[in-house]
Amino acid sequence: MINLDSPLGIAVLVIVVALLIVAVSTFFLRRDRVKKVDDAASRALRPRVDEATGETAASAIDDDAVAIEIADESSPTAAAQPEVETPEPVLGRFTRLKARLARSGSPLGAKLLAVLSRDTLSDDDWDEIEELLLLADIGAGPALDLVEELRTEVRVKSISGAAEVRALLREKLVALVGPDMDRSLNLAPQILGDGTRKPAVLLVVGVNGAGKTTTVGKLTRVLVAEGKSVLLGAADTFRAAAADQLTTWGNRVGVETVRSDREGADPASVAFDAVKQGSAAGIDVVVVDTAGRLQNKTGLMDELGKVSRVIGKEAPLSEVLLVLDATTGQNGLNQARVFTEVAGVTGIVLTKLDGTAKGGIVVAVQKELGLPVKLVGLGEGPDDLAPFEPEQFVDGLLGE
C-alpha cells in the first residue's frame, strides 16, 4: 500500500496521475500536426536530389563537384607550410584497405559454403543461412525476407550447386545495398541567388562514441589531398577535449579550426562562426563537427536542429553525414531515422569496419530510409577512410 507520508509513495502517485492527465489532455489535440512533421522529414530528404540535378545543369561549377571515388588527381597540390604533412592520395587506398578487410574476415563465408554444399537444403539449413545473415546485424526482418526469396528462387529455378546459390545470395544482397545510389559527396561551392559564393558545408552528426571527430579529421585529409581549402568548425562544445582533438587533426594538414574559447558554448554559434569565416575567406569546404548525442534525447536533438537551422542562415548545408558505428545493432535504424528527421541526413559514414563487425545494419537503413552509405572508416590510421563500394561490402558480409 502506498503510504501517503512517504515521499516515494507520493511522488509515484503524482507522477502517474500527472502523466495520465497530460496524456489525456494532449494526445489527440490536432493530430494533423503529426502528418506535417512527417512531411517535413520527407522534405528534408528531397532537396538533396534536387541539388544533385541542379548541379549538373550548372556546368560551370560541375568540375568542382569532385566525387571522392573518382578522384584520380594523381597527387595533392601539397599544402603550403613545410611542417605540414601531405595526406596519402585517395587512389590506391583501396588495395591496402581490401587486404585489411580480408584479414578481419570472419568464418562466416566458410560456414556459408559448408551449409550450401549440402545436397538438399533442409529447413534447418535454411535456418542456418538465416542465422548467418543475422550474425552480420542485417536484422531479423530483412534476413527472413531474403532467405524466403532465395528459397523460392532456388526452388523455381532448380538451382543446386553451392556456388550458384551463393552467387544468387550475393546478387540479392548487392541489390539490397543499392549499387546505383549516388554516393559522391556534394562539395561544389554554392552560388546563392544574389550571386555570392558560399563554401560547401558538411555537417557531421551521430551518437556518442561513433567516431565523428575522427571521421572529420580523416575527411579533412581527403579534402586537402584533393586540393581543396578546408575550414573546421568544432561545434562539439560538450565533450572534454573534443575541440583539442579536432584542432590537432586540422593542424597536421594545415587546416584552421574555428572553436569557442570556453567549454559549453552554444554549438550553433560556433558552427555559424565557422561557416561565416569560411565564406569570408573564400574557403572551399567547411566541415562542422558536432557533439555526440543519443537520438532519444529530445533536448539534444533540438539543439542539433538549431545548429543545422543556424548554419542555413549563412549558407545552405551541402551534406549532413551520419556517422554510424559498424558494431551498432538494430538501434542503428532508429538512429538514422531520428537524425534524418532532425537534421536531414544525406549520407552515412560507416566507421570501425576493420573489427569483426560487418555493419549489416546499413542494409536496413538504406532500404528503409534510402540513405546511401558514402564513406567507410576502416582503421585507426589517419588515411583509413575510403569510399563505400556496395559489392565489396557484400563480399565482406559474406566473408569472401
Binding site: M1, N3, L4, L8, G9, I10, A11, V12, L13, V14, I15, V16, V17, A18, L19, L20, I21, V22, V24, S25, T26, F27, R30, R31, R33, V34, V37, S106, E131, L134, G139, A140, V207, N208, G209, A210, G211, T214, A240, Q245, W249, L294, Q295, N296, K297, T298, D325, T327, T328, G329, Q330, N331, G332, K352, G355, T356, A357, E380, G381, P382
Partner: protein, 534 residues
C-alpha cells in the same frame, strides 16, 4: 506491425484462450515470436538459439501443461530465464584487503571508458573512498586531457605523467604499462585506497593492443577488470566479449549508453557467453548518471515491456516531495486540482525527459502504442501555451471562461477556439475521473483494485486503437489510460513493499537481492494478465 514482444505474444495467444492447453505447435509459434523479439533486441544468435531451446524445453514440460494457465506460464518462464542469465551472479565491487584496490577498465573504442572512469571515481568518492585515476590511454588523441577534465569535474586527482598523443598519426611514445604500474605505486605512496586505470580502447582483433592490456593487467594485478560495452552494440558483442575475456579475463561488465533507446540485447549476450556479472549501468552524460545494474529491468527492456521502476526513480529525482504531497491531497479531493497545478505538473514532467518514453514505460500501454508513436511532443508546448494565455483567475476557475475569454486565449496562444475548448473538456473529464478514483478507492489503500483484470478485451482494445485515429471514442481511450494507471499503481505499491528497504543504499553494492523478487511477482503480472486476455 507488431512493435513489441508483448504485442506479438498477445496475438499469438489470442487463439489459445479457447483451448486452455498448449499444443506443441502453439509452443513453436510462441518460441518463434520470442526468438524474433530477442533478435530485434540484438541478442546474439547463438545465445538466442540456446535461450529459445531452454524455453521450449521448459514450456513442453509438465511445468506448463499442469499449470492453470499455460500461456501465462510461458511468459513467466521467459522472464525467469532472462533474469536468471542477467542477474544470476550479481555482485558488488570487491575491494582489496590491502589497499589500494586496483580497478582496470577495458573495452572497444568509443564504448565510453574514459567517461565511465570519471563516473566510477565520483561514485567511489561519494561512498567514502579516495580514488586516483590513472591515464594509461596513450593511444587516442587527447584521451589524457579528457580524463583530466573528467577527473576535475569529479573532484578526484588524476595521475597522468605522460601527455599521451595529440593526434592520430603521432606514434604513441609512452609506455602505458609503466604508467599504470607507477600509478599504483603513486596511490600507495599517497594513500589512495582505490586506483582506476583507464586503458586505450581497442578492437577485439587487434593482437598488439590486446597484449598491451594483458601486460597492464599483469603489471598491476587488478582486483577488478571491468569490461565496458555499449548497449547499442549488435551481434558483434559476443565476438568482442570473448576476445576480451581471453585477453584480459575481465571480472565484471559495465553497460554504457543505457540511456539510449537501444534494447540492449548485448547485455544478455555477454552475460550468457562469458558468465561474468553485469555490475553497473551508465545512463547519461553527466557524471552522476551511473547506477547499479538491475537485471529485472533489463529483462523487461529486452522484451520491451514497461519499466515502471525506472520511471518512478526518475520521478523521485525530479519531484519535490513536499510539493508532491500537496498535489496528492489536491488530486484526492478532485476539486482542488486547477489548471495552474496542471501546468506545474506538466513542467515538472518535462524535466524527466521525453513524454513519449515515459508513457512507453507504463506497463499495459501496449494497446496505445500506435497512439504513443504518433504523439508529437510539441502538443505539450501547445497546451502550455494555451494555459499560459489564461489569467491566474481563469486558471484557478475555468468555469468563468466564456466565449470572448476563450477567443482571447486562442489568439494569445496561436490556436483555434476549438483547441481551447477541447483542452478544457479533456481537463474537466480527467479531473472528474481522478475524483471518481479518489472515491472508489483508486487511491492509496485501495484493496480491491483488480490490477489489469479489467483490461478491455481484444475487441475493446481495437476500439481504443481506432480512437487514436479519430477524435471519437474518447471513453475507450480514457479507459485504457485508467488501466495503465491502475497497473502502474499496483506496481508502485509493490515497489513500496518490496523495494523500499533497498532504495536507501542507492548504489546497489549488494542491493540486488530484493530486486528480482519484487519484479517477479509485481511488475510482471499486469503484463501477464494481458496475454491471457489478448
Amino acid at each position: 506491425m507488431f512493435a513489441t514482444l508483448s504485442d506479438r505474444l498477445t496475438s499469438t495467444f489470442k487463439n489459445l484462450r479457447t483451448k486452455g492447453r498448449l499444443s506443441e505447435s502453439d509452443i513453436d509459434a510462441t518460441v518463434r515470436q520470442i526468438r524474433r523479439a530477442l533478435l530485434d533486441a540484438d541478442v546474439a544468435v547463438p545465445v538466442v538459439r540456446e535461450f529459445t531451446g531452454n524455453v521450449r524445453e521448459r514450456a513442453l514440460s509438465a511445468e506448463v501443461s499442469a499449470a492453470l494457465n499455460p500461456a501465462q506460464q510461458v511468459v513467466k518462464i521467459v522472464n525467469d530465464e532472462l533474469v536468471g542469465i542477467l542477474g544470476g551472479q550479481s555482485r558488488s565491487l570487491q575491494f582489496a584487503k590491502n589497499p589500494p584496490t586496483v580497478i582496470m577498465l577495458a573495452g572497444l573504442q568509443g564504448a565510453g571508458k574514459t567517461t565511465l572512469a570519471g563516473k566510477l571515481a565520483r561514485h567511489l568518492k561519494e561512498s567514502g573512498h579516495t580514488p586516483l585515476l590513472v591515464a594509461a590511454d596513450l593511444q587516442r588523441p587527447n584521451a589524457v586531457t579528457q580524463l583530466s577534465v573528467v577527473a576535475d569535474r569529479a573532484g578526484v586527482p588524476v595521475y597522468a605523467p605522460h601527455p599521451g598523443v595529440a593526434s592520430e598519426a603521432e606514434v604513441p611514445t609512452g609506455d602505458p604499462v609503466a604508467v599504470a604500474r607507477d600509478g599504483v605505486e603513486q596511490a600507495r605512496a599517497k594513500l589512495h585506497d582505490v586506483v582506476i586505470i583507464d586503458t586505450a580502447g581497442r578492437l577485439g582483433v587487434d593482437q598488439e593492443l590486446m597484449r598491451q592490456a594483458a601486460d597492464i593487467k599483469a603489471a598491476t594485478n587488478p582486483d577488478e577488470v571491468l569490461f565496458v560495452i555499449d548497449a547499442m552494440v549488435g551481434q558483434d558483442a559476443v565476438t568482442t566479449a570473448q576476445a576480451f575475456l581471453e585477453g584480459v579475463d575481465f571480472t565484471g561488465v559495465v553497460l554504457s549508453k543505457l540511456d539510449g533507446d537501444a534494447r540492449g540485447g548485448a547485455a544478455l549476450s555477454v552475460a550468457s557467453v562469458t558468465g561474468r556479472p553485469i555490475m553497473f549501468a551508465s545512463t547519461g552524460e553527466q557524471l552522476t548518471d551511473f547506477e547499479a545494474f538491475h537485471p529485472d529491468r533489463m529483462a523487461s527492456r529486452i522484451l520491451d515491456m514497461g519499466d515502471i521502476l525506472s520511471l518512478i526513480e526518475q520521478a523521485e529525482k525530479a519531484f519535490d516531495a513536499e510539493e508532491a504531497a500537496k498535489m496528492a491531497s489536491k488530486i484526492t479531493s478532485g476539486d482542488g486540482f486547477t489548471l495552474e497545478d496542471f501546468l506545474g505538473q506538466m513542467q515538472q514532467l518535462r524535466k524527466l525527459g521525453s513524454m513519449k518514453k515515459m508513457l512507453g514505460m507504463l506497463p499495459g500501454v501496449g494497446q496505445m502504442r500506435e497512439a504513443i508513436d504518433n504523439f508529437d511532443e510539441r502538443e505539450i508546448d501547445r497546451v502550455e501555451a494555451i494555459i499560459s494565455s489564461m489569467t491566474p483567475h481563469e486558471r484557478r476557475d475555468p468555469k468563468i471562461l466564456n466565449g470572448s475569454r476563450r477567443a482571447r486565449i486562442a489568439r494569445g496562444s496561436g490556436v483555434t477556439t476549438t483547441d481551447v475548448n477541447q483542452l478544457l473538456t479533456r481537463f474537466e473529464s480527467a479531473r472528474k475521473m481522478m475524483k471518481q478514483m479518489g472515491k472508489t478507492g483508486g487511491l492509496p489503500g485501495m484493496g480491491g483494485v483488480p490490477g489489469m483484470g479489467a483490461l478491455p478485451g481484444s475487441g475493446k482494445r481495437a476500439g481504443a486503437r481506432q480512437a487514436s485515429k479519430g477524435k471519437k471514442n474518447k471513453a475507450a481511450q480514457r479507459r485504457a489510460s485508467v488501466q495503465s494507471m491502475k497497473a502502474a499503481k499496483k506496481a508502485a505499491q509493490a515497489q513500496q513493499q518490496g523495494a523500499q528497504p533497498a532504495s536507501g543504499d542507492g548504489f546497489g553494492l549488494g542491493a540486488n537481492a530484493s530486486g528480482p523478487a519484487s519484479v517477479e511477482d509485481l511488475n510482471l503480472p499486469p503484463d501477464l494478465e494481458k496475454y491471457l486476455r489478448g
